[in-house]
Symmetry: C2
């Protein structure tokens, strides 16, 4: 009666977290099938106390798979996701390969679960920084309408993969020891110029587009518009890597169509929203930080304050675990939502 | 013919940097007089290759002093700055004690040197995050007028003093070793709640005001308005501490009265501005980071891009050494400007 669930990229940082989230999931799982590149095939991963051997991800490996969660990069997704769908699997893809395709729902269950109804086997998981922002903005958008969002991010290195996380630790050790080193991991492993991340911040995540924004910044623009189903929402992002292993933070300024009646009303709306936790008490110095939210599925909001001048503008501080809500949990939550709506069974 | 120059708080992080900047200064200096609290009196500091004994800062110690640079915190400034002026010294104060007083010029020489003409012996050095922002915005304000600024900061721990810098190193060592620890330095040493800064970011700098903004955020509002001489400029700030020892970064969105004709015009205006260096070449992954600007007197600007929708809006990334341009060099530059304008000699 349970599902056969594949995790593609099972040995990566997000793949590992997907397996942890599947262990905690209400989905009935008969078999977990970890997959990875030929290089990682043969390794084992642990699922519910058992070691499971990682298989090579090939088109044929998806025969009999009901659900496949992909997190092995865009090229793997482009090569294999549609192959998996062709063999009857429903795919939730964490890469950016299909997010903007018109026939692929881009889903954050707290925000636009209804988009799942039209899926054609392939569903895209949004970018980590987009997910946490739209979860926090959704309850406010419903009430006040959103004209414009300006966001500056403080993004953890784990968003760039396990290698970048290892680099932060290695560089930090050398920085403390006063030893020189050649940075190798960030901002983008495949681009020529590298900068240290220990004792530094880097205002580049992903490649630059011709308009001067990075691809990460443009993801926040385009994905927010698609998830909210409103291409008129203005989004301006500056995405910055900080020396933090896990947990993305965002300083967000939001301009509404209609001014909130009071800050209390805003806080109440956030508190009532699924997937949102409000930690906001200046007198107690209470606000979220990346370290405080690690391992949590929710999105944490603090520093909620009205603009000093404009009554339709608010400022917020939004923090979430980028590997959990920003990737693995959102993907598993999509699968749980499909199941709850009868959309996961094979045709 | 030279001046007798006191540095109050000479053993602190900014005081030490003030002495370095005075060593490089064109000011004729006959004697450097390092001062500090009774606790630090008797220590020695180095000036131009000579060890100089630190004196206790008392009202009487300022007899015969021509110029006193204060960086020993607000309470020392409140206790001693006017005493020094009374004894004939001109004081440049780096604390927030006098910045908003109407008869005290608040000066960034590249922006409002003309305010020095009205000084009454006491001149205030602005907050570090304000200085670098107004230096970069000034040439744009002159051309286009500024309606509104939205800024998110990435501030180094050295802004909170030598103790916070030591804490980042100690915490980082324990984080790498997997050892637990009790954070003791940040966000504010004198407030009850502390958070780790290693592997974390903290969205609080200084105390909270009743409006939900921190004092640091309100400094950026009020000081920007005073330096630009325009209380109608809207500023909204989110100030965040990041695990970086030296170098503040700022993601700035600026809304002009009149749209720039082109991005080239903006870049040319910034390149021509005193104290500004443009590092902005996305194809070469060129932009400033805190590590790249350490020890530099200039303010570095990169990631210059037009808003995707609004032609009167720009986005910028502004980085400077918070101890140098954000504190010590700005103070020494004020003194050099006073001297050049014949405003430093005793009456």
């Amino acid at each position: 009666m349970g599902y056969r669930v594949a995790v593609v990229g099972a040995t990566g940082a997000v793949g590992q977290e997907m397996i942890r989230q599947l262990e905690r999931s209400v989905l009935p799982i008969d078999e977990l099938i970890p997959m990875a590149s030929a290089r990682s095939a043969g390794k084992t991963v642990e699922f519910r106390g058992q070691a499971v051997v990682v298989r090579e991800a090939t088109p044929e490996a998806f025969a009999g798979v009901d659900l496949a969660l992909f997190s092995a990069g865009g090229s793997t997704s482009r090569a294999l996701a549609r192959e998996a769908v062709r063999r009857g699997a429903i795919v939730v893809d964490n890469s950016s390969a299909f997010r903007m395709e018109p026939d692929v729902p881009l889903v954050v269950p707290e925000v636009n679960a209804e988009a799942l109804a039209e899926h054609k086997g392939l569903i895209a998981n949004p970018n980590c920084s987009t997910i946490q922002m739209v979860v926090a903005l959704h309850p406010l958008r419903v009430r006040y309408g959103i004209k414009r969002v300006i966001v500056s991010t403080y993004q953890a290195v784990s968003g760039a993969g396990a290698r970048a996380t290892a680099a932060l630790r290695e560089e930090s050790g050398k920085w403390l020891a006063g030893e020189g080193y050649v940075p190798e991991a960030l901002p983008v492993a495949s681009l020529p110029v590298k900068y240290p991340i220990a004792d530094n911040v880097i205002p580049q995540i992903d490649r630059f587009e011709p308009n001067g924004f990075t691809f990460e910044e443009m993801k926040m623009v385009r994905e927010t518009q698609k998830i909210f189903g409103d291409p008129s929402i203005e989004v301006a992002a500056t995405c910055v890597r900080v020396p933090v292993t896990v947990g993305h933070s965002e300083a967000v300024t939001v301009e509404f169509e209609r001014p909130p009646a009071s800050l209390e009303e805003v806080v109440d709306a956030l508190r009532a929203a699924k997937g949102v936790v409000v930690w906001d008490d200046p007198t107690a110095q209470r606000y979220p930080t990346p370290m405080l939210v690690r391992g949590e599925r929710d999105v944490y909001v603090g520093r909620i304050r009205r603009d000093l001048v404009r009554e339709n503008v608010l400022h917020l501080w939004i923090v979430a675990d980028n590997l959990v809500k920003g990737a693995a949990w959102n993907a598993v939550e999509i699968a749980e939502t499909l199941e709850a709506r009868g959309l996961l069974g094979r045709a």
